[in-house]
Each structure stands twice: as C-alpha cells, then as structure tokens.
Amino acid sequence: MEGAAMNAVVPMTVPLNAFLAVGTILFVIGLAGVLLKRNALSMFLSIELMMNAVNLLFLAYARMRGDASGQMVVFFVIAVAAAEAAVGLAIFVALFRAKRTIDVDQIASLKW
C-alpha cells in the first residue's frame, strides 16, 4: 500500500488485519443470510449486517490513513440504511397484509 505517502498517521493498537478479518467474516455471514434465509425480515437483517461490515472496513481504513472522508461515507451509509429500513419494512407490512406471509419462496408471482 502507499503508507509511505501518508501524513499524521495515528498508531493503531489493534492491527488492521483484525478489522479486515472481522469485517470480512461479518460480510460473508450477511451474504449467506441473504442467500439462504427465506424469511424476508431475516434477509433484511442480513443485508444490514453486510452494510455494517463494510462500514467497519471504511472506519478501519480511515483510521489507518488518518483521512476523515472514510468516516463521512459511513455516516452516509447509516443515513441511507435508515431510509431503506423505513421503506423496506413498510413493504413487508403491506406484503404480509396481502399474502399473510413474508416467506420469499411463497411470494414468487412475478414470473413467466
């Protein structure tokens, strides 16, 4: 990496690789949740998990590089995730009212 060109590098007590490992594990768990869960709410939570994994990596790199713009992106992601949660949950409620289920395998009417 281009560590040599950095200025005001804050020394890290926890090594970067630990952050990367945790973030990657979280992301993969989330991905597996999205692909394997049938409950729409569980899938939704898994997506949140993936986003937070990415947020963690953003923060780790921002800290490593001493650059605040990474932290800004995290705030954006949190804000967008909140909006997305509002819309997504509203959809699930409406879906449940119509179909009496939020099992995504049962909700497959939009097909050939």
Partner: protein
C-alpha cells in the same frame, strides 16, 4: 351584359354540389327508412319484442317493395334533380353564348380577328419563375368549343330527364353529368395547360364514374376501369408534355403559342420539340381513343346512352383534337410529329371503320364510328389543316350526338334491347326517332348539303392538297365504309320486318317529348351547321375556318383549283353513295332472320375467308392486348407476389419474429419470481465485476 367567363364552369359545379348533396342525403334517408321498415316486418330478428307482432308483420309485408332494384324515386325528387341539372347547364349555356356570340361577331367583322380575352380569377401557384394563374380564355377556338359543348350538353341533359326516369340513381346521374360539364368547360376555357389538365383529369373521372353508372353490373365497372387505366397511359404522356412545354417556353399559359409562332424557345433542339409533340399527342391518343389506345371507347358503351352521346361522342373524346389544335403552333415546328399524327388518325379511321362494319350492337357500331371519325379529325390536324379538323369536331358533335340519342330512344322503345338483329321495321312505330336519326345518318355519310359533307370533304381536300395521296385514299375508302355501316345500322333497325319476339313488338313505343325535342334540334343542327363552313369552291367563304385561324397555326397552306375540288367532292359523294347503295341492297330486306340479318352479307362474309373473320372479331385486338400486355403483367405480378413478397419479404419478417420468440422462450426461465435467485445472480455479478477489477 358582361358576364364573367368563370361563371360558365362554376354553374354546373354548383349544380353538381346541390344535386350531389341532396342525392346523398335522400339516399341515406331512404336506406334508413327501408331498414326500419324491414325491421318492422321482421321483428323476430330484432331481438327484444318477439312473437306478438311476428305473424302480423309477415302477412302485410311478405312481398316487400324494397327489392334489390329499389322503387322509383318520388316525382318531386326526380323533378328537383332534373330541374337543377338542366337549369345549371342551361344558365351556363346562356352565359357561354352571351360571351361567345358577340366575340365571334366582333372577330369576323374585323380584319384578322380580335385578340383573346383572358380573365384571371386568382393566382393559383407561384414557384420560382413559374406561376400559374387560374385564368380563363376566350379566343376563336374556345368560343367555338364552348358554344357547342354547352348547347349539345344542354340538349343531352334534357334528353336524360326522359331517358333516365326509371333509374334509381337519378340524382347521382345528374350530379355526375353536371360535374362532367364543369370539368369539360374548365378544359376548354383554361388559359394554361395546368388548368386545362384539371379539366382533362376531371372529364376522365366523370367518364369513369358514368361508364360504371350501373356499378352492380360486372361489365360496367370493368369497362370503367378499362377506360381509366387506358387513359392513364395517355395522361402520363400529357403530364410529361406539359413539363416539356414549360421547359421549352418557360410558361404553361397559352402565350406559349405566340412564342412558338415567333420561334422564341429555350434551345432550338428539334429533338426536344419533337419529343414534346409526341408526348402531348400520346395524351390526345388516350383521351380521343386513337390506335392503339382506342380499346376503352367501345367498352365505354356500358354507361347510359346519353352519357355515350355527351362524353364518348360529342365532347370529351374531342378533347385530344382540341389539345393538338391548341398546341398546333408547336406541332408545326415538328413536321415529323405531324406526319405521325396524320398516319395515326388515318389508320384509326380505317381500322375502326372496318370493325364497325360487322358489329351487331347498335351502340357498338356508333362507338366504332366515333373512333373512326376522331381519326378523321387527327388526319386533318396531321396534314396541317387544324381549322378543318376542328370543323369536323363541331359538325360531328351534332350528328353523332343525334345518332347516339336516337339509338337511346330506339333502345328505350325496345325495352333495353341493343342487338340490331332483334330489331327491324321500327320506322313507322318510332317516327320522330326514325326521321331524326336518318338525317344524322345521311349527315355522317357525307351527303351534301348536310353538315358531315362539308367537314369531311374539306379533310379529304386538305389531305389531297398536302400531297398525301395515300392518306387521301385511306380517307376516301373510310368514307365509303362509314356510309355503308351507318346505312347498315339504319336498315337493320328501321326497315324490313321486326325480328324480335311478338311480345317485344307489341311494346315498341315512341319516346316522350323530353327525348324527341333534343333529337329534332340536333337533327336540325346536323343539317344546318355545315353551312357555317361552306368552302369557296361552292360559293361560300369558309367562315368557320377563317374565324378559327387566329388561334391556330397553318402548316402548309395549300390551295386547290376549283375544278380539282369539284372532282374531289364528286369522288367522295360517289364513294359514299356506293356505300349507301350496297348497304341498302344487302340489309333490311324481307326474309332476314335474327341469325342471318342479310343473306347477301352472309354470302360475302363466307367468301371473305380469314379477313372476314378477323373483322368480325374486331381484329382480335382485345385478345392480343390480353396476351401481349395483360397476361405477362399478371404473371410478373403473380411472381412478385408468390416468389418475392410472400417468400422473401414475409420470410424476413417472419424469421425475425421467430428469432425474438426463440430468445424469449430461452431466457424467460431466468425470471423465476424468486427473490433469492435474483440475489444470487446479483451476488455472482458483483463477484465477477470484482474479479475483473481486481485481476485487470
């Protein structure tokens, strides 16, 4: 009184609009009423009110009056159509004569004539250096044409009032007839070739509509189509000819005649002038039914007989001669083109006359006679005697209209029998028709002092004087045949014994006054109009031709000595008399049967061998055109349809549709509707993208 020229075509146009809209409205109302009456008579088909009225309805209206032929129109409605039709043309006649007669008097009074009167109504179009005025022109040529067209047209309108009274389409008929008068008068009075072309196409349209008047009969609409399509060939030449005139002179209004006389053209390449003349002549050949485009005119007899008289004998078909005369100044610049005109004319004259010898339908004889006489007119123009050609147009309008209307009267007396073999001995039963038709027959045969003699003799004289001895001989021979077939017609119709059924004989009746009065007027015209152009050799001054002279060009002014003229006249009268005598001896004798109307003619026919069969079958021209032109065209069409359109074009379209369908069939299975499948493909896509970015 100063009546503007635009009134002359505008009055029949107004009549057309009035009659047409009333006829449309009345027809719509009648259709609605008869539907309502039918519903009342057949309530069970109606759906909602069922059995109660059913029996009653059937008893009352079992034989309903709304058969396919339809009821006669109410008297008031017929009266309206007739009055509007006749009155509009009558007023147009008054305006036309009020303009033309003073003009003619003033023109003949002053030395060398007076100039044309041009009245522009509005500027039609202006594009670059070309501008077309909607302008009307009164000069000797148009004054002459407009006088006889309105006058003869008026008589034929009056005749139609009686002739068409039993027809359901009475209003439609008069509307079309008025529209025709509008178009024809526009054609004649136009001051430019473009405005003339409006009338040219208009008369073609009305001709088509009126030939197909009995549109529910197959032969009628087939004949209409034939006329229209054949005329398209001519009109194609006509349009190109107009462009050629525009290219040569930079204008289409008739000032180009003066430019041509002065020789002021763009480029003097004689080949251009020659081509323009040929193209214009092609238009004339189509409209005036000359060889080889004459085939539509005999078929045009499918229309009502007054239509044949007005459009296909007296007026429209002479438009081609009028065009050639109008452009005579251009034609004299291309002497070779004029020679062609003369030969086409002479060829048509003799060719059509031979066919006329052996026709049995009374109207077909007159149709071929018309084609033959039109040939005479072109012969006159072709040898440079344009004035004489127009004189024959003028006299021909009277005696041929009289003949056609007379044949209409005969056909009506015979209850729509047109075959002369089923006629015979009609003279005492239809006296007025007989007498008037005989006058016209003598006139067309060229017996002095009737109209046909003067004009036809001058045509032959002009051909002789121009040194065209072969053309002269053809003309003379045709004159003999004309006399023969006309007297054959008269003898078969009016003399001998009646050859139809007894039932038909009992019902033969003279026509009403609305039909006989026009006949008498036209017969009087056939006697008198010839005296307008008495040649100098007979003590006249040929006022007719000298009146027209300012509008026309003279190609080769030739003068014959009086002695030569006397010999020529005697010759043509002798030939005509021979034709008459032969017809008199052969036809109308006792003992004729419907199958063999004349034993002598039958014997001659059997001796004549192949030639006789050719003539009797109209030289197989229709069959020849079918084999040489129509059949190949149909084959090409069928090939393009089956081989190209169905196979290639439709194949491409169908193949692309099939391809889309196939693709859809394959990829639609990816649309499972299961959100986790989508998520998986989404993830895999991201993975691929990431790998691509990482490994790049």
């Amino acid at each position: 009184m100063n009546l503007p020229l635009w009134l002359i075509p505008a009055l029949p146009l107004a009549g057309f609009l009035l009659n047409g809209s009333v006829a449309l409205f009345a027809g719509w109302r009648r259709a609605r009423k008869s539907t309502a009456a039918w519903r009342e008579a057949h309530p069970e088909d109606h759906g909602h009110d069922g059995d109660a009225a059913a029996g009653h309805g059937h008893d009352d209206h079992g034989h309903d009056a709304h058969g396919p032929s339809g009821p006669f129109l109410p008297y008031g409605e017929r009266l309206f159509y007739g009055v509007v039709g006749v009155l509009s043309v009558g007023l147009a006649t008054v305006v036309a004569l009020a303009n033309a007669v003073p003009y003619a008097l003033a023109s003949t009074a002053s030395e060398g004539g007076i100039g044309p009167v041009v009245q522009s109504v509005w500027k039609w179009m202006a594009a670059g250096h070309v501008s077309v005025e909607m302008a009307f022109r009164l000069d000797p040529l148009s004054a002459m044409m407009v006088s006889f067209v309105t006058f003869v047209g008026l008589l034929i309108h009056v005749f139609s009032v009686g002739y068409m009274q039993d027809e359901e389409g009475y209003g439609r008929y008069f509307a079309y007839l008025n529209l025709f008068m509008f178009a024809m008068l526009t054609l004649i009075l136009a001051d430019s070739l473009v405005v003339l072309f409006i009338g040219w196409e208009g008369v073609g349209l009305c001709s088509y509509l009126l030939i197909g008047y009995y549109y529910d009969k197959d032969f009628a609409h087939a004949a209409g189509k034939k006329a229209f399509v054949t005329n398209r060939i001519g009109d194609f030449g006509m349009v190109l000819g107009i462009f050629g005139i525009l290219a040569l002179f930079g204008t289409t209004d008739f000032s180009f005649v003066d430019l041509a006389k002065a020789g002021a053209m763009n480029g003097t390449a004689s080949i251009t002038v020659y081509a323009v003349c040929l193209l214009l002549f092609l238009g004339a050949v189509g409209k005036s039914a000359q060889v080889p485009l004459y085939v539509w005119l005999p078929d045009a007899m499918a229309g009502p007989t007054p239509v044949s008289a007005l459009i296909h004998a007296a007026t429209m078909v002479t438009a081609g001669v009028y065009l050639v005369a109008r452009c005579s100044a251009v034609f004299v610049l291309a002497p070779d083109a004029l020679t062609l005109v003369a030969w086409v004319g002479a060829g048509t004259a003799v060719f059509a006359a031979t066919i006329g010898l052996a026709q049995n339908d009374i109207k077909k004889v007159l149709a071929y006679s018309t084609v033959s006489q039109l040939g005479y007119m072109f012969l006159a123009c072709g040898v440079g005697a344009f004035g004489v050609g127009m004189f024959h147009v003028f006299t021909h309008a009277f005696f041929k209209a009289c003949l056609f209307l007379g044949s209409g009267s005969v056909i009506m007396a015979m209850h729509h029998e047109q075959d002369m073999r089923a006629m015979g001995g009609l003279a005492p039963k239809v006296k007025r028709t007989y007498l008037t038709m005989m006058v016209a027959t003598v006139a067309i045969a060229g017996i002095p002092p009737l109209a046909g003699f003067f004009s036809k003799d001058q045509i032959l004289g002009a051909a002789f004087a121009g040194g065209h001895l072969v053309l002269f001989a053809i003309g003379l021979f045709t004159a003999g045949m004309t006399a023969f077939y006309m007297f054959r017609l008269a003898r078969m119709t009016f003399y001998g014994e009646f050859r139809g059924t007894e039932e038909a004989e009992k019902h033969v009746h003279e026509s009403p006054a609305t039909m006989t009065v026009p006949l008498i007027v036209l017969a009087a015209g056939s006697i008198l109009v010839g005296f307008l152009g008495v040649p100098e050799a007979l003590g006249g001054s040929n006022r007719f031709v000298s009146f027209l002279a300012p509008s026309l060009a003279t190609a080769h002014p030739h003068h014959l000595s009086h002695a030569t003229e006397y010999v020529l006249m005697a010759l043509s009268v002798a030939v005509a008399a021979a034709g008459i005598l032969l017809a008199w001896r052969w036809y109308g004798q006792k003992g004729a049967t419907p199958e063999v109307p004349s034993a002598a003619a039958q014997a001659f026919y059997e001796k004549s061998g192949a030639l006789g069969r050719l003539v009797a079958n109209k030289w197989y021209v229709d069959e020849g055109i079918e084999a040489a032109v129509l059949s190949p065209f149909r084959k090409i069409g069928t090939f393009l349809w089956r081989g190209f359109d169905s196979l290639v074009i439709d194949g491409i379209v169908n193949a692309s549709a099939f391809l889309v369908e196939l693709t859809g069939d394959l990829v639609r299975f990816f649309t499972t509707g299961n959100v986790r499948n989508y998520a998986l493909s989404f993830s895999l896509g991201v993975l691929v993208l990431a790998l691509y970015v990482f490994l790049r």
